[in-house]
């Protein structure tokens, strides 16, 4: 399955909906979107990965790159993910300690609201 990307803003948060496979072929598109959002002043990003079928280290690199970029603006990049096979790669690489990972968009929005 190819990669589908969409995004919208709610209050101070930009939600990026990702669907499909994030790998060495498709990850550059996600990378470009994250860079574009940051360049346009969106520094609080929530990447919804609930419809992601596959994620590899290239995709992780893109997310880490996005995190670095938003942090340079005192921003945040957090994730929504409950799929065990996707969470496993975050655990293997220790990135569960780097990203805020939430079970739903609502849960993440609530946490984001508390942190504001």
């Amino acid at each position: 399955m190819d990669l589908k990307l969409d995004h919208h803003s709610e209050d101070n948060l930009t939600i990026v909906d990702v669907e499909g496979e994030i790998d060495v072929y498709t990850a550059p598109r996600l990378r470009e979107l994250l860079i574009d959002l940051v360049n346009k002043g969106n520094f609080h990003l929530l990447v919804n990965m609930e419809k992601v079928d596959f994620l590899d280290s290239t995709g992780l690199g893109v997310l880490v790159g996005g995190l670095k970029r938003v942090r340079a603006h005192d921003g945040s990049l957090e994730l929504v993910c409950t799929q065990e096979r996707i969470l496993k790669i975050f655990r293997i690489t220790g990135l569960t300690k780097v990203f805020g990972i939430y079970a739903s968009v609502d849960e993440a929005k609530e946490a984001h609201g508390r942190d504001k």
């Binding site: 790998d23 060495v24 596959f54």
Partner: protein, 142 residues
């Protein structure tokens, strides 16, 4: 003897094909359903690393993946011919498609996924061999 040998050009689009082929053969070989996601991810990581290395050093050379079902194990070997001294070095982006944020992460992921991994590298390329348990008679029990 290799059950299946796949040779592909160093293009990111082919990595998905390699993943699909490896997963299909793993299933037929008798790797349990619970391990198929690990096979898919580990093979994808090995092929992605090889593709990125070839695109930097030798874009015209193909990458070889061998899939075997010897002795109750499903074994995958991914071989490239790019000098592998850059394993931990950032890959230089050539067309915006390569991602330098976390070089070397792919090998770490493979090590975390396969219970048997052997990485050998040198001036003539890198060979990643990994294996998983499989049913001796093929076709995993459901």
């Amino acid at each position: 003897m290799a059950t299946v040998e796949l040779t592909f050009s160093a293009l990111p689009a082919h990595v998905r094909t390699a993943r699909l082929v490896a997963t299909a053969i793993a299933r037929r070989t008798g790797v349990s359903e619970a391990l198929l996601d690990e096979v898919r991810l580990a093979v994808g990581e090995a092929c992605s690393r090889a593709v990125e290395a070839h695109r930097v050093h030798c874009p015209g050379e193909p990458i070889v993946i061998e899939l075997r079902d010897d002795s109750g194990r499903f074994e995958v070997t991914v071989t490239d011919v790019a000098p592998s001294d850059d394993l931990q070095q950032p890959v230089v982006p050539t067309d915006g498609a390569l991602l330098p944020e976390m070089p070397g992460l792919g090998i770490a992921v493979i090590a975390g996924l396969a219970d048997d991994v052997e990485v050998s590298s040198g001036a003539k390329g890198m060979r990643i061999r990994m294996s998983w348990p499989a049913s001796p008679n093929g076709v995993a029990a459901v």
